[in-house]
């Protein structure tokens, strides 16, 4: 009990990174769970879908993993109020599974991009952002080939503008994402998906010159939220 599930699919490659950070940097209890063994969200304090290239990212990033029983069972998370975080490929999976709105398209320049960027949090709320301040700048690296967020105007204004949102600082959008969107959440913030990697930005030793470890607030929020709710 009191554990975070880190879901692993064939091709997931940030599972150990997230595990290390959650466990060693934030002293939270976690377990890497192979997708075949993940039956239900019940009993977990939170679920993290880490980055990587599930099923080779073939067809579309996240498309095949989104159709697995493990992800299909996540629908319950919403009703049970269990926090779910999708990082990079995890975000792509959540979008492909329609647990978050929109779509993630190939980067505008057609290339994979690995780079540190600055993002801004808007309307922070929920287990993953409870400790973030409105307008707080979070520095984190991105590393993806399909991160160009797309959403229709209506959904953007009617839904996303009411929910927590993470956007690239103007001029730092690495992929051509609409509205500079780097991450989106459900209105209550219980399910959050983002392209940047907070686990790579949780220790100052890994932050290059001029950047801070902007991922910390996400895991610190989770730690507080698991203890005290959000």
């Amino acid at each position: 009990m009191g554990k975070i599930a880190i879901l692993k699919f064939p091709g997931t490659n940030c599972d150990e990174d997230v595990y290390y950070v959650v466990k060693n940097v934030f002293s939270l209890d976690a377990e890497i769970v192979w997708h075949k063994s993940f039956k239900s969200v019940k009993g977990w304090d939170a679920v993290i879908i880490p980055g990587g290239f599930s099923y080779g990212d073939w067809l579309r990033a996240g498309a095949i993993a989104a159709r697995t029983p493990a992800i299909e069972s996540l629908v319950e998370a919403r009703d049970l109020n269990i926090p779910v975080l999708g990082i990079c490929n995890g975000f792509q999976i959540l979008v492909e599974a329609s647990l978050l709105p929109g779509a993630l398209l190939p980067n505008e320049n057609g290339k994979f991009v690995c780079r540190w960027v600055r993002t801004v949090v808007e309307r922070p709320k929920g287990p993953w952002l409870s400790m973030a301040r409105e307008g707080e700048v979070l520095d984190m690296p991105v590393a993806h080939a399909e991160g160009r967020y797309y959403v229709d105007e209506k959904t953007f204004y009617s839904t996303l503008m009411k929910s927590p949102l993470i956007r690239y600082v103007d001029g730092e959008n690495p992929n051509g994402s609409l509205y500079n969107i780097a991450g989106v959440a459900t209105e209550d913030g219980v399910i959050l998906g983002l392209m940047p990697h907070p686990e790579r930005a949780s220790e100052s030793i890994l932050s290059p010159r001029g950047f801070k470890a902007g991922g910390r607030v996400i895991f610190e929020s989770l730690r507080q939220s698991i203890k005290r709710g959000w």
């Binding site: 498309a63 159709r67 779509a103 398209l105 320049n109 057609g110 797309y150 051509g176």
Partner: protein, 86 residues
């Protein structure tokens, strides 16, 4: 009695969703190399399924169904075309 049919699935971006790859191929490759008669380029993904079915229509029906159910395309951004391979 079933036989095998080849069914093509073509997934392209919806109108209104940009296709930077197509734009790049058009602008930076084709036009720059002097093929001015090319007006535009759109890119997409192509799948060729070989399907056991009762008839061509049956094969198409099966593929159309699986494209919807398995979300072979993402209706938020994609158009899809399913057809028998001629």
């Amino acid at each position: 009695m079933t036989s095998t049919y080849l069914v093509e699935v073509i997934i392209t971006n919806k109108k209104g969703v940009r296709d930077p790859e197509g734009e790049t191929i058009h602008k930076h490759l084709i036009l720059r190399k002097g093929y001015a008669s090319v007006q535009s380029v759109r890119t997409g993904k192509y799948l060729l399924l070989s399907v056991n079915a009762l008839s061509g229509e049956d094969a198409i029906r099966i593929v159309k169904e699986l494209c919807e159910k398995l979300r072979i395309y993402n209706p938020v951004v994609h158009d899809i075309e399913v057809r028998l391979r001629g």
